[in-house]
């Protein structure tokens, strides 16, 4: 991975983290969290850990759906 790609994926990561911290609405926070995950997955693939990348990519939506259960209860 050269420096340009590294900067791009790092920018996705920092943007997602900042937006997740700064948003107020829970739905917008979850959408920003998924931008953060989009920045993390390429780092795992670049290391060559493809099985880990598959497992993480399938587990991340599960935890989002668990959070959505709480959000739906809190904001009817």
């Amino acid at each position: 991975m050269n420096e340009l790609l590294l900067g791009a994926f790092g920018a996705l990561l920092v943007l997602g983290a900042g937006a997740t911290i700064l948003e107020h609405d829970p739905y917008k926070k979850i959408i920003s969290l998924s931008v953060l995950i989009a920045g993390i997955i390429p780092f795992i693939v670049d290391r060559g850990l493809l099985d880990v990348a598959t497992a993480v990519a399938l587990i991340a939506p599960l935890s989002t759906i668990f959070i959505l259960m709480a959000v739906r209860r809190a904001t009817p």
């Binding site: 991975m1 340009l4 790609l5 791009a8 994926f9 920018a11 996705l12 943007l15 997602g16 937006a19 609405d25 739905y27 917008k28 979850i30 959408i31 920003s32 998924s34 931008v35 995950i37 989009a38 997955i41 390429p42 693939v45 670049d46 060559g48 493809l50 099985d51 990348a53 598959t54 990519a57 399938l58 991340a60 939506p61 989002t64 759906i65 959505l68 959000v71 739906r72």
Partner: protein
């Protein structure tokens, strides 16, 4: 800029579109209209995953990432629209 290979120019296109769509996801104020930009971002990331490391397992990882993020968007949209009770 000496000779750029085809793989490098393709991954540059994918990554730059991903960064642009991420900025637009953050900048959009309407929650439902964020989701199409998020879809563009996941397309760009899935494409750049396949271009980053050409290996037979990479296609499994890219498909898993794409399906996962689509499922996440589906859950967010359905939950925002009022939960699965008025689905069908």
């Amino acid at each position: 800029m000496e000779d750029i290979t085809t793989q490098e120019i393709a991954i540059l296109v994918c990554v730059s579109i991903g960064v642009i769509s991420a900025v637009r996801v953050i900048a959009e104020r309407n929650t439902m209209k964020k989701l199409p930009f998020l879809n563009v971002l996941s397309f760009a990331i899935a494409g750049s995953l396949a271009l980053l490391l050409p290996d037979p397992l990479t296609i499994l990882a890219a498909a898993a990432y794409f399906v996962g993020t689509t499922l996440e968007s589906n859950a967010i949209a359905s939950s925002y629209a009022g939960g699965p009770k008025n689905d069908e």
